[in-house]
């Protein structure tokens, strides 16, 4: 059993939960994920780790309540327990040694981009964060992201907060003006696709974190297969990070829609970052 130690409602749909998970907390690194199951009849859903504290033995997850399980999870309170939490799964992000990096988070994807920005800043990398949201009401983790970056930009589709427009508008401006050697993009699949298209011409190394359907998270089901550089990869063991310039985003979007018609079920990673 994994006890919920802290709960923060980040916006109407997005919730932050901190779990008591000492074994995982000792090992987890940015980019890795856990699989949780709320109760005996629950489904297994993958959620990327948004924060962790090895000393306190805690792991935090952030999710959007869009599917059956994420809605159930959002309704839970501090002191409640979830039955299973497995991890850390997937490969940690390979940052290499960049000098100047841009971390982009779209919507609830911000929560997953947060540990990446934090890690880069701690490594002494000059870190710029760009976050994008539909409107002012759903902006999340602004203060955290400011703390984890040297410069911070926020965009909204309707201009109700920060700059009006998309994260790629800011990105284009920044990379045209100065030299960056790493871009990390986490968010809706179309956003990651456009970020990768934007950086491709500049030849900037671009990492994206993918979010396909999966069950076990250890390479067993093959449900999370994605096409990267023309080859089939399993996001759970080969990823979830991949080279954004090599991912077949269109096939990923199709696969993520697989269970859209099956009643209330939604078991996409991050509870639908793609929302």
């Amino acid at each position: 059993m994994f006890v919920i130690l802290d709960k923060k409602v980040l916006n109407e749909q997005v919730t932050w939960l901190t779990l008591d998970a000492p074994f995982i907390a000792r090992k987890v690194q940015p980019g890795q994920f856990v699989i949780i199951r709320i109760d005996e009849k629950g489904e297994r859903i993958p959620l990327t780790v948004a924060d962790f504290n090895a000393e306190k033995g805690t792991v935090s997850i952030v999710f959007q309540a869009v599917g059956f399980t994420t809605k159930k999870l959002a309704a839970m309170s501090v002191g409640d327990s979830i039955l299973d939490c497995v991890g850390p799964l997937g490969c940690p992000t390979n940052f290499a040694s960049p000098k100047k990096a841009i971390v982009i988070g779209g919507g609830v994807g911000c929560a997953i981009a947060y540990p990446q920005a934090k890690a880069l800043k701690n490594m002494g990398v000059e870190t710029t964060v760009i976050t994008g949201f539909r409107n002012r009401d759903i902006v999340i983790l602004e203060q955290e992201m400011r703390n984890a970056s040297d410069s911070y930009y926020v965009t909204t589709d309707d201009g109700s907060y920060g700059e009006k427009g998309f994260v790629t508008d800011v990105l284009k401006r920044l990379i045209a003006a100065e030299k960056y050697d790493l871009v990390i993009a986490i968010g809706p699949v179309p956003m990651m696709k456009f970020v990768a298209e934007t950086t491709r011409t500049y030849g900037i190394r671009t990492i994206v974190s993918l979010n396909p359907i999966m069950i076990d998270g250890t390479g067993m089901c093959g449900g999370c297969r994605v096409i990267v550089d023309g080859q089939t990869k399993f996001a759970c063991v080969d990823g979830p990070d991949f080279d954004g310039h090599k991912v077949d985003f269109d096939s990923l979007m199709r696969r993520n829609g697989l269970y859209r018609n099956e009643e209330d079920h939604a078991c996409r990673m991050e509870g639908a970052v793609n929302g």
Binding site: F23, I24, K27, R37, K41, G42, E43, R44, F68, T69, L83, D84, C85, V86, G87, P88, L89, I215, D216, G217, T218, G219, M220, C221, G222, G223, R225, I227, T232, V237, S251, R254, R255, G257, L258, Y259, E262, E263, H265, C267
Partner: protein, 462 residues
Amino acid sequence: MADMSPYKIKMPEQEPYVRNKNFDEVSFGYTAEMAIAEANRCLNCKNKPCVSGCPVHVRIPEFIALVASGDFLGAYEIINQTNSFPAVCGRVCPQERQCEGKCVRGIKGESVAIGRLERFVADYYMQNGSKGVKIAPANGKKVAVIGAGPAGLTCAGDLARKGYKVTVFEAFHTAGGVLVYGIPEFRLPKKIVASEIDGLKKMGVEILTDMVIGKVLSVDEIIEMGYEAVFIGSGAGLPMFMGIEGENSLGVYSANEFLTRINLMKAYLDDYDTPIRKSRSVAVVGGGNVAMDAARCAKRLGAEHVYIIYRRGEAEMPARREEIHHAKEEEIDFKLLCNPTRIISDETGAVTHIECIEMQLGEPDASGRRSPEVVPNSEFILEVDTVIMALGTSPNPLIRQTTAGLETNRKGCFVVDENLKTTKAGVYAGGDAVTGAATVILAMGAGKSAARSIDEYLTQKQ
């Protein structure tokens, strides 16, 4: 004088048209009268060929003689001395290629139904046997077992019986390995697996679920925690795909994913949350037990048409005879001697058809089976909305990637000596993680051998 009927006593089972709509067990098992009658068919022959056919050398004629005399609990004692999980083996062993394949009665007529008798005895014990468990005096030594499947559980049980304190680390949320995620309820009820695992827990075996070794803990860290030996029974979990066009279309599953959703996650029951797509027409590719299980599950979930596509003939199918027979009775459509060439999908990416090509059998290959060859220009198309790939599996790389000094071969299987010792001191391995995908009983046999080797190693180490 033995009963010289050339036929096995039939085991009562659900009618095909009833059972292909439910997940209840297909066979009801023998009654005591049937078991005694069948046991009387055994000649109790001197050289006991059946025993040599059993990977764990169950003393078959001895237990059958006790069944014939009505001493069912005595029969259980005999079986249990060499087989930790007879209720499982009686149901899933390929007896026709093991004990029953060697039975003298099989020369003229049908062999003695050894598997059915084993199942009867084990089920009888579960209902009527002693609930008390003998707990061996602790010897103060800790052993870790990685993987709670047939190999790991057998190894854990044998070591616990010798007084070792055993901890089993399981990646899934439920212990049992392939017995819970792979083999369906209608072939092996999960309450039987749970009851066998409860027996181990009563013996003092500790089972820690949700522990992916190689991620949350490394093998070296386990050793640092004070475990004096480690057994790796992590199985062969990675599904293979064909690499044909359209394989990533919507509606193409690995058999692992399809079966895990159904068996482990219980997607077939309304009150469980895991989804499974409703299929109308399904093609299962492969000819092993896993292919039969997937096809029969698809039928039970309501598919109108289910094909098995296999590139060789029926005689070459690796599945148990009984499963092939049951699948046919349940209206699974066997497309033999053909092989998929591509999967066709619509504009949304969803599967609409599978294209296959006819095959013919050529010269025997390395496995001794005649290798299939393509019949040129013989392509044909089947209308399907789901394709399930049941082509076999390969070992999971998580442990080998995170453990220094643990040698693996070209296929990623752990390299072990005749005592199942790996290239790393104190670390043993067995089951599919060593052999590649094989059977439950071979994995159990490996678990037993490894337990023996670990006991010798730790006794000498003293």
